[in-house]
Amino acid sequence: MTKEYRTLHTTVNLPYELAFGATLTRFFDGLSAEKILGTRCPKCSRVLVPARSFCPRCFIDLDDWVEVGQTGTVETWSLVSYEYIGMAKTPPYITGLIRLDGADVSFTHLIGGIDMSSIDQVQSRLAIGTRVKAVWATEKPGSIFDIEYFVPI
């Protein structure tokens, strides 16, 4: 490029008010009470967490509420080391899929309470198959961060 052309610096900032709906409201009420709730599908028998109003596969209404375990097994994880605008957590942090005891799908959350200064440190405490348990936030924001993170047992 021989000539530098101009660029416009601008921001778009929009407010939204998103409905949780009945099922997620009950799920998040559960988190406030330190319970992790799922719903069981009467057709395929799977327990889905977070709770769903319908089974994605059988396509029927779900209303059989179950409290699942606060412990589970790590199905996969990633140490996040890069940063971008709008990120919910400041890196480094570990995001993971956790198969909670009593659930048939995996739950997305953070894995914490361990040294994250290097990948080697993390790997000394964490692998696929590691057992973890929920650590509840003392001040509950009324969001998914009512659980602060899951810690290796």
Binding site: E75, T76, S78
Partner: protein
């Protein structure tokens, strides 16, 4: 089933950081090149299909309105197909169905993105549901790192072997990009530099990751009777397939990934392909991350589950190997998202019509193009061939 459809021309921008042009100018560059390549003119076009990643990427909503003149759709019908990362492939599918249905003879498909104008990872994070996953997924690298880690664990791939195989994939794509005049990243890097590059989201390192690119791609689809009146060689659409699974990442197995397996099966069935590694001459696999490319080889039946690392190390998927993959340098070197899937289709069409220039795979007659999207949910395939 439906009418036969052919690709009769493709056009790409020089991808990269394109602050030398505005968004409409960028798009027009690709559209004009598609017309030049095909020998057609805008008056020949019956309909236009377009798509991009979401509005947040460039801060413009429903950008088919702003870009209407650049995509030459004024006075014509338009479809605006968007399916996240697989948008470009879904745009190609839309053009295909439009012609196959008999409601148009010539359809221009255009995909574009100007990723340097916004924040791509922030944008991609808003694909995830706002309640739960959005707080954790860490953009595309976060999701694909988790999927890669599952795959590594499932097949008990030793860490060193994995790093070696991923580095070979990265090196191959970066070397191939030098033979593609439109590719964005042209970097001479060594195997050691790739292996020792910094970790982004474990196991993904700097050189395992695609760039953000500005770029556009345009492809002209044509009905059989019109295509046969043309002097230039057609790339016939032999098969299309597409599948999606749940928005919650934890709901489906992403190693034996059914959306990839079934989308490929749907397309193979239509194309009459039984042994993809033997029958396909080249594949343009959507590979924003080296590990995903390896995982997808297995889902597409290019090899058995657990075999991809070994075969990649043997050169099976390099130029000169059994099934050369991403001779264009792939997504790893060029990623204007809304265009990326369509670039795979364009590259596949170029290969089977002998127009790929320095990155031509000799004698290629049957090629697979692929794209994926969503919260690691969607896979789309298009197979093109030189013979009808």
């Amino acid at each position: 089933m439906g009418r036969a459809v052919a690709i009769m021309g493709t056009g790409q921008t020089h991808h990269g950081k394109r602050f030398d042009v505005s968004y409409p100018e960028l798009v027009r560059e690709a559209v004009q090149r598609a017309f030049e390549d095909s020998g057609l003119s805008p008056e020949d076009v019956d309909a236009v299909v377009t798509g991009t990643m979401p509005s947040m990427m460039e801060g413009i909503a429903l950008n088919h309105l702003y870009l209407a003149d650049a995509i030459q759709v004024v006075g014509k019908p338009l479809l605006k197909t968007e399916t996240c990362g697989s948008t470009g492939m879904s745009v190609a599918h839309t053009a295909f169905y439009w012609v196959a249905a008999g409601l148009a003879d010539v359809v221009l498909a255009v995909g574009f993105e100007k990723m340097y104008e916004g924040d791509s990872q922030a944008t991609m994070t808003t694909v995830a549901d706002p309640w739960i996953q959005r707080s954790f997924v860490a953009g595309a690298p976060g999701i694909f790192a988790m999927q890669s880690n599952m795959w590594i664990d499932r097949h008990h791939i030793p860490a060193e072997r994995l790093r070696e195989a991923a580095a070979v994939i990265s090196l191959r794509n970066h070397d191939d990009a030098f033979d593609n005049p439109y590719a964005h990243i042209k970097a001479r890097i060594s195997l050691e530099e790739i292996k020792d590059s910094r970790i982004v989201t474990y196991p993904i390192r700097r050189w395992d990751v695609c760039p953000n690119s500005d770029g556009a791609c345009a492809v002209l689809f044509m009905s059989e009777h019109k295509a046969k009146q043309m002097a230039n060689p057609p790339a016939w659409i032999k098969g299309v397939g597409y599948r999606g699974d749940e928005s919650y990442l934890g709901d489906s197995d992403k190693v034996r990934w059914n959306t990839a397996i079934d989308a490929a099966k749907e397309a193979y069935h239509q194309a009459g392909i039984v042994n993809p590694r033997r029958e396909l001459d080249v594949a343009e696999v959507y590979n924003p991350f080296t590990f995903m490319e390896l995982l997808l080889y297995e889902c597409f039946g290019f090899c058995d589950f657990g075999e991809a690392c070994d075969l990649a190390l043997q050169g099976t998927f390099s130029r000169g190997g059994d099934l050369p993959c991403d001779p264009s340098g792939g997504v790893l070197c060029t990623n204007p998202i809304g265009a990326t899937g369509l670039i795979r289709v364009a590259e596949a069409a170029m290969q089977v019509t002998g127009k790929a220039g320095a990155h031509q795979v000799d004698g290629a007659q049957l090629a697979l193009a692929h794209a994926m999207g969503g919260v690691s949910q969607f896979n789309g395939i298009m197979i093109v061939g030189s013979q009808q």
